[in-house]
Each structure stands twice: as C-alpha cells, then as structure tokens.
Symmetry: C2
Subunit: 121 residues, 2 copies
Amino acid sequence: MHHASPCCPPWRTRGLTQAWILLALAQGSAHGYELLDRLGPETLDPGFLYRSLRAMEEAGLVQSAWQTAGSGPARRVYSLTDLGWEALRMWAAHLRRLRAQLDQFLEQFAQVEGGEKDVLP
Amino acid sequence: MHHASPCCPPWRTRGLTQAWILLALAQGSAHGYELLDRLGPETLDPGFLYRSLRAMEEAGLVQSAWQTAGSGPARRVYSLTDLGWEALRMWAAHLRRLRAQLDQFLEQFAQVEGGEKDVLP
DNA sequence: GCCTCCTATATGCTCAGGTCATATAAAGGA
DNA sequence: TCCTTTATATGACCTGAGCATATAGGAGGC
C-alpha cells in the first residue's frame, strides 16, 4: 500500500516530440547525434529519434545525405524540405491553439480552487 | 498524388485527457454521461472515459456511488477525493510548465521563421 | 596487431494513451 | 411489442514513446 505520490504527470509531453525535432532542424541541417545534443540527450531517446527521422523522411518532411568525410562512422545528415517547413508552421499554429486551451484550463482551475472549501451550505 | 496537408497535427492533445476529466469533476460530482456533455461529446470517446474513471477510482483519485433513483438505467456518480484534488493541483502545476515550454517553442520558431530565406551567402 | 572506448545509426520488445466498434440493460413512448 | 434514448462497459487495435541491445568505423593505448 504505497500511495507515494498521487497520479503524477511526469513526462516530457507526449505527441509534441516531432515538433521539437522539426524546430531543431529548422535551426540548421544536422545528423541524429547532433540533434540529440541540441534537444538535450537526457530528454530524448536515440532510438525514437532515429525512427522518427526515417518516418519523417518517408513523409517528405526531411531529406538525408550520407556524410562519410571526417572522423568516426558515417553520418546521415538531415535537412528540412519545403514540406517540412510547412509542417513546422502548422505545428506552430497548433501549439498556439494548445496554449489557448491551457490558459482556459488554468483559468477554470483557478475558479474551482478558490471555491473548493465552500461547496454546499 | 494527394499531399493534401503535410503531416497534420489534428487531435485534441494527447496525454492531457485525465487532467480535463479531473477538472470537470472538480466543478461538481457527475456520472460519466454527464461528463461527456461537460467536456464535449465530440471530443471524448465514451469507452475511454469510462475506463479512465475506473482506473482513477482504483488509484484513489475519485470515488463512485450508484444512483438508481430517477429514470433510465442506473448511473455511477463520481466525485473527487482529497487525493484527486491533490492530483488536479499537480496537473495544474505541470500544465503551467508545459505552457512555458510552448512559449519557448514559439519564440524559437519566430526566430527561425524570420531568417528562413537568408540562410547562406 | 589487438583491445577498448567513443561516435553514430539502427532494431526488437514492451507499455500506455487513445480510437473505433460493439455489447448490454433499464425506461419510456409509438 | 418494438424501437429509441440513456448509460455503462468490453474487445480489438494503432501509435508515440521508453528501454535494452546490436552493429560498425575510427582513435588511442600497449
């Protein structure tokens, strides 16, 4: 019987990761390992990143080219396509709507929190 | 060949549904079908709602009581527990952090969007 | 030469949040 | 009686995401 903490919303928010990847790429072409650094290696799983990149390439949002020059193993360098830029703009619009929803939530929460103690006479 | 819209972030944001359910319950005890009305029947799947309510009851966030009086089939009326209120406050705090992240995203987006056309000499 | 570490990409397994379709049952009205 | 409305519930399935692990090239130690 360990209620430790109730419920708990722990994570780095679900469903928005692709948006962050697109934004990171919008700041300049890069390969996967470099994107990990840009987004914070602690906050993003490498496996998920690489899979996402492949999926986004298949969808035409990004394109890749092998870079064999330099030291270490070959790198797959990704860059945004026009379609990717368009997707990023759509994400931005979506996140603005999401922010409005959050404002609405927090406003409603403030109302119920104030009246929590005096619900019925 | 119908690229219609690229990528597309369509949905009512994932992972936050439990928070909305808790908030709706904070505005007063209700049974499932009534919660559907409060949250918008179009935006929430009944099956998912009922499963969530059962899970939250098991977690101690809500409690339920059968209401056989009145017309129609029996209703399971849910209400928030103290633990549920605590969870709701944690959700609010989390969503404030999420809002800050969104601000950061949109700010960075505004920067890259402005300089999109002049990337290299 | 060989071993080991760092960089870099990739795959398999699994879980949880969510959607869609469908089942069941009580009341009320035609 | 049968159909519709209200209300709760279950089964199948999809997908974003996390965790573990595999693979391969280069660099440095010895």
